[in-house]
Amino acid sequence: MSAEKLTMATALNRAMRDAMHADPTVVVFGEDVGPLGGVFRVTDGLTAEFGEQRCFDTPLAESGILGMAIGMAMNGMRPVVEMQFDAFAYPAFEQLVSHAAKMRNRTRGRVEVPLVIRVPYAGGIGGVEHHCDSSEAYYAHTPGLHVIAPSDPADAYGLLRKAIESADPVVFLEPKKLYFSRSEADLTAPVPPIGRAVVRRPGTDATLIAYGPAVPVALEAAEAAAQEGRSLQVVDLRSIVPFDDETVCAAVRSTGRAVVVAEAAGFASVSSEVVARVTERCFHSLHAPIRRVTGFDIPYPPPKLEHVHLPSVDRILDAVDELQWEYA
């Protein structure tokens, strides 16, 4: 067991490398993932180390990439494919929804498609249109897919290993803005199974529920609130599907107040689901309705305006302020 300081991009790269060493059926492919190592360098060195047959570039066609991955998964391989940016996964939507998600069901378990779809996702990097979408709702709403969003290097490593080992298709959402943030991680530590949320920060007054790129913002907000004497708990979902009702509800019951924080547009989203299901389960423990701080219901803004759109510490603290403390 040895902790080291590394970036999420490196952690993800290690996860693929280690998985490829551990299992010869793991293959990595997509656009520019070979010699270039991916536009974010997440697949850096894999072709050099494992050869062209294990990590390779494809023609430029996302439906093709996922469709071929499904076929390979049907025939004994474990493909890990990269969609270059969130919005460029949309051409693969039919393959994802009508096949990846349904093949096991269609065949009553006779055909499995163990594959991972890595999607660099969400904003905060000054990217132009189509490079910053938070698309998790589309995937989370689709039965048959696991949907995961790590928020730090350690989870990124552990969850990607689990995703590659999974017998089911996993949409693995990598928050682009966290790719190069560095933190301590012990890659040899045991990882919890997919489907477990974690309390990132204890707190007693209210609970912030976040995932992926929103987690660091929530933690920052909790820190700021602490300065003002308010104790905020922070829960990191990690896995959107399956959802960890147990951890989330226990957290919310312990404080009686909650704010869900997510970058995606709020309407008919994962954050709607969190509000709905937690309210259904914890109604009588709630002192106030659960609030949401999400992206607005607008197309992702151009770089110069993204700060207006993204959940900010201030906006989170405003929402916390509105949790009807007068009823405490």
Binding site: V27, A61, G71, M74, N75, T107, R108, R110, V111, F243
Partner: protein, 363 residues
């Protein structure tokens, strides 16, 4: 892979080896298949036709929900299976039930989808037949993936990927051809051009000289074949499979045939085509011409014909019986096969149904 245009373009006319009147047609590129293969094909054609007729009858009796018939396309159905080895894969569409059965899948299991019992009824791994694809052209990419995985492992697998003329317009057709070509994947793309996509005629689908002319745009050799001539189909598809197996990469074969019946029983072809258009195709029936040819060569006599008809009749009887049996749809299947392990949420949802049912029983 050759980049020589001449070698990638199809012949100007579809390859025919036995004409509609049962006469052999000399061809520079292909001899006739050997007699055994043709007799085997004949028996299979009779079974396939009987299967189609039986399925149509079952629809009329309300025992099948819907059936997209391949009546008139049986030569394609049979040939694309007969050229495969046991280890090869077939990727069929909803219209290819006869091919699936020819491949050895139990007819009742083959009809699970159309009966409404489940989305697919047979074991794809055991039968090397992929689930029948409904979203058009999407399965062509799966075929490429299956073939590519086999090739990475050094297996001799060839994949037969079947689609219709309409499906060639989908983006996935393009991506599948291109991926197969770039990775030199052993897939035979087999288009059954039956001139219609539901109501839409071929002229509305493409302005190309032929669908086989699409091959060259990917560096894939294209070939055209008479889709009602099982002899030509066996040779052309057989050669494509052999080349794919030898590492020469994918091939694109367009069979020209015709959908003589409705798209499915729910369709009303009177709205978009005249009976006059259909009639000439009845004279080009794939069975008739093979039978004439085989009889003419002394490879088939009345007794054989009765024998094959009898075999087909027995199979149809087993199919009727099988489909007559009540199936018990189990609601638990809905929750069991979404993931390898049901999520906590699915367990809750299944429990809700269980509770409802137990309360219903109490009542």
């Amino acid at each position: 892979m050759t980049r020589d245009a001449a070698l990638l373009l199809p012949s100007t006319e579809p390859v025919t080896l036995i004409d509609p009147d049962g006469h052999p047609v000399p061809h520079v590129g292909h001899d006739l298949p050997d007699p055994q293969a043709l007799v085997r094909a004949y028996a299979a054609l009779i079974s396939a036709r009987r299967f189609n007729d039986q399925a149509n009858a079952l629809v009329r009796q309300g025992r099948l929900a819907v059936y997209p018939s391949s009546h008139g396309q049986e030569a394609c159905q049979i040939a694309c299976v007969q050229v495969l080895d046991d280890g090869d894969w077939l990727f069929p569409t909803y219209r290819d039930s006869a091919a699936i059965v020819a491949r050895g899948v139990d007819p009742v299991q083959a009809l699970t989808l159309l009966r409404g019992d489940w989305h697919s009824g047979y074991d794809p791994h055991a039968t090397k037949v992929a689930p029948q694809a409904t979203p058009l052209a999407t399965h062509l990419l799966h075929a490429v993936g299956v073939a590519h995985a086999a090739r990475l492992r050094g297996e001799p697998t060839v994949v037969m990927a079947v689609c219709g003329d309409g499906a060639t317009s989908e983006g996935d057709f393009h991506e599948a051809l291109n991926f197969a070509a770039v990775f030199r994947t052993p897939v035979v793309f087999f288009i059954q051009n039956n001139e219609y996509a539901i109501s839409v005629p071929l002229a509305r689908q493409t302005a190309a000289p032929s669908l086989a002319h699409k091959g060259i745009g990917y560096g894939v050799p294209g070939e055209r074949v008479d889709g009602n001539d099982v002899a030509a189909l066996l040779k052309v598809l057989g050669a494509a499979v052999a080349r794919a197996r030898a590492g020469e990469g994918p091939q694109l074969i367009e069979a020209h045939t015709y959908r003589v019946q409705a798209h499915t029983n729910a369709d009303d072809p009177g709205r978009y085509r005249s009976a006059d258009e259909v009639t000439p195709w009845l004279a080009r029936d794939p069975i008739m011409r093979l039978e004439t040819y085989l009889r003419g060569r002394g490879l088939l006599d009345d007794q054989d014909v009765r024998g094959y008809a009898e075999q087909a009749e027995q199979a149809a009887g087993r199919m009727r019986a099988g489909l007559g049996e009540e199936t018990s749809a189990d609601y638990r299947d809905l929750f069991t096969h979404v993931y390898a392990e049901p999520t906590p949420q699915l367990r809750e949802q299944q429990a809700l149904v269980a509770d409802e049912l137990s309360r219903e029983e109490e009542r």
